[in-house]
């Protein structure tokens, strides 16, 4: 059975693009913090919890907000929506920050707000909380973005498990680089279809 990509979004240090077109250019090579804040403001997101997220979760969250910006998620069946992401570096930046907060016995103050983010799947939780998605969420640690693997996994969710939608793709955040490539996959073609969902869907990334 066919399924369809109805929206896709990429965020890299250079730009944020939606459906293949650059929506926000990262002028003057701003830091991720500044760039993501500027996207947050321009998208008029108004979600105070955003400022508490770590870099990985902010990246996944902002990408999902842009991805869903033209979709009416209130009409979704939350249980039939899944989130399946690939990631390479886990939560390394928060891991490092957590370690730094307790390494010195003389200045020993582990921060609970930092510890909360020392797992890669928290970014799935943040997207779920915002959009009230209660379907399956999974995070696969891989060497690189494997669209064939994700395609097969999601096809099975649609064919055998009754899912209608899935947010999938690749989100990775390290001290040196970051990238997010999210795709909204739908079982039906009622919404505006961008392309058929197949094993090579990562070719859509510009």
């Amino acid at each position: 059975m066919k399924s369809y990509i109805t929206s896709y979004c990429s965020i890299t240090p250079e730009s944020c693009s939606l459906n293949g077109k650059v929506k926000y250019q990262n002028l003057n090579n701003r830091t991720f913090n500044d760039f993501s804040k500027s996207i947050y403001k321009q998208e008029k997101i108004a979600y105070p919890k955003f400022s508490k997220m770590d870099g990985l979760s902010k990246l996944a969250f902002i990408a999902s907000e842009v991805l869903l910006s033209s979709k009416d998620t209130s009409r979704w069946n939350e249980q039939q929506t899944a989130i399946v992401l690939g990631n390479k570096s886990s939560s390394i930046v928060s891991d490092q920050k957590h370690y730094d907060s307790y390494k010195d016995r003389a200045s020993y103050f582990p921060s609970p707000a930092v510890f909360v983010y020392t797992l890669p799947n928290i970014m799935l939780g943040e997207i779920s909380i915002k959009n009230k998605i209660t379907g399956e969420t999974s995070c696969f640690i891989q060497d690189q973005f494997d669209s064939t693997f994700l395609y097969q996994y999601i096809k099975d969710l649609f064919d055998s498990e009754g899912y209608h939608r899935c947010i999938t793709g690749w989100v990775d955040y390290t001290p040196f680089d970051y990238e997010a490539h999210l795709f909204l996959v739908s079982k039906s073609d009622i919404e505006e279809v961008k392309t058929i969902f197949d094993h090579n869907f990562k070719r859509l990334i510009i």
């Binding site: 983010y117 999974s138 891989q142």
Partner: protein
């Protein structure tokens, strides 16, 4: 399911774990090997890394994380118990769940680097990431098929088991070694302490006066096979994985919703896939960490699913501690043991029930058991449930 292997605070193999469960003897005590000044009790595997290397047939000179060592020992037992031949192992897949990876070694090396001491960078950090223990197991045991690592906190190994089942059901694999491993580390200890959900004393799952969880460590794996594959090689099925479900609680990064929505949906999904109505469940191995939040949340979820037909249930975390990424695998093995022994596992260290639902079962006792539900709920709202039935 044709075999399993396990190492935990209760023992180094399946027999030892089962005997300790029968004796209702907890493996939680002050740590011997984790180098901490904190006053905590933990479910530690009773062996040093050198001893673990010896059990795992790894040279004492080699640097290997405790997570990888535990994983190696348990997965080796699983394959041996399934009596898989070399060719069958070669074609099998491996899906491994872990949250902490090789942190136990890297955190010590990193602290040395910070004060200018020399360390072997390759030895100390090449095993850091989550995928490394999976590769070590695959390499040592010569598992050459599909290879994947899942990191979803406390539901990691339950999700690995689920993923293996889905691959077999869809015909992409015939046979998979699935489960997970996690070792104790200062990273986790400090982190959970900052969230104030540790009990400095022995934890009390489902008790009215519970104060928090005890951390634990260990590893456990199942060998899953398709029916055709087992028949073709004249293997023996011990139990059947008939249902599985994953759902997101969508409430908070680390706390569960008061009504236990994620748990409710995960259990419901598992029952749907198993094509079982709730009253067919004979025993529930609960997530039951001993925290205020989880035990309340899970109780409400059980109430909403089972209402007047609540089967006997228990948490085994007062035995092993909360083994984080390995919990789903370890408790899956305990669930299968309950099926094989036709016995309910006890919820020890209970003094006063919570009063939301009936009290858990507190004695190891015989019972006719057909279907067992096992719950594992992780940070990020990631809730998973598995259902095992008699073969």
């Amino acid at each position: 399911m044709s075999g399993y292997g396990i190492i935990s605070a209760l023992g180094f193999n399946a027999d030892e774990n089962l005997n300790t469960l029968k004796m209702q003897k907890s493996g939680i005590e002050k740590s011997m090997h984790l180098q901490t000044s904190k006053s905590v009790v933990v479910g530690e595997v009773k062996a040093s890394n050198d001893q673990l290397k010896s059990f795992a047939n790894i040279s004492a000179k080699k640097t290997l994380s405790r997570t990888a060592l535990l994983g190696l020992i348990a997965s080796r037992e699983a394959i041996a118990s399934a009596k898989l031949e070399a060719a069958e192992i070669g074609q099998a897949g491996i899906i491994n769940g872990t949250s902490v990876g090789g942190m136990d070694i890297s955190e010590i090396a990193y602290s040395k680097i910070l004060v200018g001491k020399a360390v072997n960078i390759n030895d100390s950090f090449s095993g850091h990431d989550c995928g490394h223990s999976t590769h070590v197991i695959a390499e040592q045991l010569k598992i050459k098929g599909y290879n994947s690592t899942i990191s979803t906190a406390c539901s990691s190994s339950a999700n690995s088991i689920m993923h293996g089942a889905m691959l077999i059901k869809s015909g992409q694999l015939n046979c998979a070694v699935v489960g997970g491993t996690d070792a104790l580390s200062l990273f986790t200890l400090n982190g959970f302490d900052s969230l104030k959900i540790l009990d400095s004393e022995w934890c009390r799952p489902f008790d009215k006066n519970r104060k928090g969880l005890n951390l634990g460590e260990g590893a456990a794996y199942l060998v899953l096979e398709s029916e055709e594959h087992i028949k073709a090689r004249n293997g023996k099925g011990i139990a059947e994985l008939v249902g599985y479900g994953n759902a997101n609680d969508a409430y908070h990064q680390t706390a569960s919703s008061p009504e236990g929505n994620g748990a409710y949906f995960a259990i419901k999904k598992a029952l749907d896939i198993a094509n079982l109505s709730a009253h067919k469940i004979s025993y529930i191995n609960a997530h039951g960490t001993g925290t205020n939040n989880n035990d309340q949340s899970e109780s409400w979820a059980l109430q909403n699913i089972f209402s007047h037909d609540l089967p006997p249930y228990s948490s085994t975390k007062a035995f092993t501690g909360h083994t984080l990424g390995a919990a789903g695998g370890i408790e899956a093995v305990f669930s299968v043991m309950a099926l094989q022994e036709q016995s309910l596992l006890p919820n020890i260290n209970l003094n006063q029930p919570m009063g939301i639902i009936d009290a858990p079962n507190t004695i190891y006792q015989s019972k006719q058991i057909s279907n067992v539900l096992s719950n594992s709920f992780g940070f990020g709202g990631n809730c998973s449930s598995l259902i095992f039935s008699k073969a």
